[in-house]
Point group: C2
Chain length 450, copies 2
């Protein structure tokens, strides 16, 4: 099997086969690609075509495709089935984490009906408890399928048990070792099992070093553990230390991505999780809050400048540099806060003191402020006939850059202490604050020097 | 072993043991934590303390600590050793990808000396070729240690071979199946090996479905493959299809993070990869380019407003809303471009047409523009005595928001086509453009309506 990309030619080919209702050729084509590719393909077809394609997906692939497909496509697809059919044909054949994920997107009533229709009661009750965990906790990310061995067994017994349990577990990374109370006490890798003599006790060959989290551990903390310790799978225990599930790295990669996207949107002034396929009014609603804050900031600016109306009437050239002062304050502030926000997100700032950071930003601000001020002073000496203006702009600019740099460092640190996502500070918040600050400095300096 | 965090109390405890030169207690303490924790600990100690701690790290842990520690700490630590000692005591005991990583941070001369001092010639030549791959390619990310089996073997032979090869490979996820020319033809999981009868041929039990990349594949593409197919390990082949290495998910997680950080810095107007511990002039240098662009933009604004000097002298209230217009254009532009940049980064925009997106942004911009304009109009009708001004500001505002939204969509798409990282567009670039655009619209409308 080649690495296939679902490109325009491929989609066109599929559309033609669907048009011809050529289910043999379509079935063969689908066998050459992965479930993820089929899901990607479905996103590019209309509902009727997607349904026909799904009816030709090999049975063992269909639940994987279902998990991977886009939410709206899946909702449409499932709407053609009764809750009993959804239980029998799909949910029953899924891993618990995938099943909980798909069920999580259904209405509560439907969820309950589907779970009620499952014949495997143990699986059904696992799903119920998975669905009850709070979002973004270990409990909501984990799957209950795993292979475990009792510490008192022999290696041979353990391998026998793997044979028995393996059917339910798609990928085995390690075997978890538990005591007689089902408490997690260590791990043993398949490699170790293969390399150990069959008659040895697990006790003699297992590894006591195991990092675990509790069901309530936050997803961000979990992501940090995976990153720090280069893990591929992490066991989850309950309050009694009993093994209840495992989280795999692919789910964590999604958490890391989501987190990055969220920060990105926050700092761009978008308040809801939206993407470009959402409806116009959803996109509009997500953006309005920050626009309105910007509007308020702009109104505040206008009131502020109004105080200096006389000054502007006498020296209209004061108005020329309003955008420059405002923009430079915004830029310098965003630059400083970005460094801090990033440091906080990567856990590289954590325990250290705030003061040295602010002092350092002060120095960076001074340096950049001096350079920019000198340049604008030179410009004004050449191109403007007012020495007073040149002095005013330069003095204001250096002050604005220094203040903005320090504020840009300070605000995210304070937000973080207040348990507010500091990424918010890198967006319109800091720009608006610095606009006002910049104008205040500019006109005060102007009044003094002019 | 508990999950340990290297907190203030822990560091204090270590500092005390170092002060007492209590190597027994220190050694015992270090045995309770992971190499990653030791590396984190070292970052918090001074050079003398770090050296003493390192001399007490258990021998089997020391190379792992070396890979995890911060670059400057490692450089200082290694400076106390000769190139022969570095080769014998450290590099020789590392996996090839870790060894290449550590060597990559040494000067070329030192690199060559260390490699020349390695006694394992095969390993040395692997390192040489790994170091030659371009950064951010599969070749530079992969390790050469892997377990492979010939397609003609039996399962029993294969397990025997794993025993032989396993010593060199820390974690085995799958066994790669190759033909007689060393070409990758498939995989077999350890689970399958354990579950298969020993006398069966690999040919009968292996999985032909395997995704692989070539040594020159770009790291971003690799990250996308891992994300899409939920992989933990990916084989790398050369131009002849021969298996040359494997990439593991932990390296890819780093790529994903780096990419996110880079975008974050780009959109914050920071041009180099810096963090808060860098020197003042490095931080300053990384920020100056965008500040200077902002400065140029500000100067352009000032020239532009100067054209309307007479208008401002007659109607100084025109100046009041300069910051509002500029800020709103910037905000709306950043919001639009963020959505597009994100879509491009997640590969969810790819093949589709540009026109519908721009039309949609036009509609979102219209809607938000109308709402904001209506609000500012109401405000001006209440608090300002000039109806002309109220009309001018509102007409300008709606125009600015619509234009900024469309430009914010258009610019990243164009940059992407030009193979420039579109994240750059979400930063000062779009803010500066929109400042100018906003002013042009504002004063043109003012001239027409006033």
């Amino acid at each position: 099997m080649e690495n296939i990309s679902v490109d325009i030619a491929f989609v066109k080919n599929v559309k033609q086969l669907v048009g011809e209702q050529n289910s043999t050729a379509l079935g063969e084509l689908l066998q050459t690609i992965y479930p993820q590719d089929i899901a990607e393909l479905l996103d590019k077809l209309d509902n009727e075509e997607a349904r026909y394609v799904m009816s030709n997906v090999p049975k063992e692939q269909i639940v994987k495709v279902l998990v991977e497909m886009e939410e709206s496509v899946r909702a449409h697809f499932l709407s053609a089935y009764s809750t009993k059919e959804i239980a029998d044909q799909f949910i029953q054949n899924m891993d618990s984490d995938d099943a909980a994920y798909v069920l999580g997107h259904l209405h509560t009533k439907e969820q309950e009906d589907v779970i009620g229709n499952l014949t495997d009661i143990e699986f059904a009750s696992s799903l119920l408890s998975l669905l009850n965990y709070e979002e973004y906790t270990a409990g909501s990310l984990m799957a209950v399928e795993l292979v475990k061995a009792n510490i008192s067994w022999t290696v041979a017994q353990c391998i026998e048990e793997i044979r028995r349990q393996a059917e339910n577990v798609e990928t085995i990374y390690v075997v978890y070792v538990v005591d007689e109370f089902e408490r997690l006490v260590g791990i043993i890798t398949l490699k170790n099992l293969i390399l150990s003599k069959p008659e040895l006790k697990i006790e003699e060959v297992f590894n006591k070093q195991v990092i675990s989290v509790s069901t309530s551990t936050d997803s961000q903390e979990i992501a940090n553990l995976f990153k720090k310790y280069d893990m591929v799978v992490l066991p989850v225990v309950n309050a009694l230390g009993q093994l209840v599930g495992r989280i795999t790295v692919d789910d964590v990669v999604e958490v890391i991505e989501e987190e990055a996207n969220e920060d990105y949107q926050l700092m761009s002034g978008i308040t809801e999780d939206v993407d470009s396929t959402d409806k116009v009014w959803v996109l509009s609603r997500a953006r309005l809050p920050w626009l309105l804050i910007g509007l308020l900031g702009g109104i505040a600016s206008s009131r502020f400048i109004a105080v200096y109306e006389d000054q502007i009437q006498i020296h209209p050239e004061m108005a020329f540099f309003i955008p420059l002062i405002a923009a430079m304050g915004g830029n310098a502030g965003v630059q400083s806060s970005a460094i801090v926000v990033q440091g906080l997100a990567n856990n590289t700032l954590g325990t250290k003191n705030i003061m040295p950071k602010i002092l350092k930003e002060l120095r960076v601000g001074m340096l950049n402020g001096i350079i920019c001020s000198a340049l604008i002073f030179a410009y004004n000496m050449f191109f403007s006939d007012s020495f007073d203006l040149a002095i005013t702009v330069s003095v204001a600019l250096i002050t604005v850059i220094v203040f903005a740099s320090v504020l840009g460092t300070f605000i995210p640190l304070v937000l973080n202490k207040m348990k507010i996502d500091p990424a918010i500070a890198t967006g319109p918040f800091i720009t608006t604050t610095n606009d006002l600050l910049g104008l205040a400095i500019y006109f005060s300096v102007g009044r003094m020097l002019y």
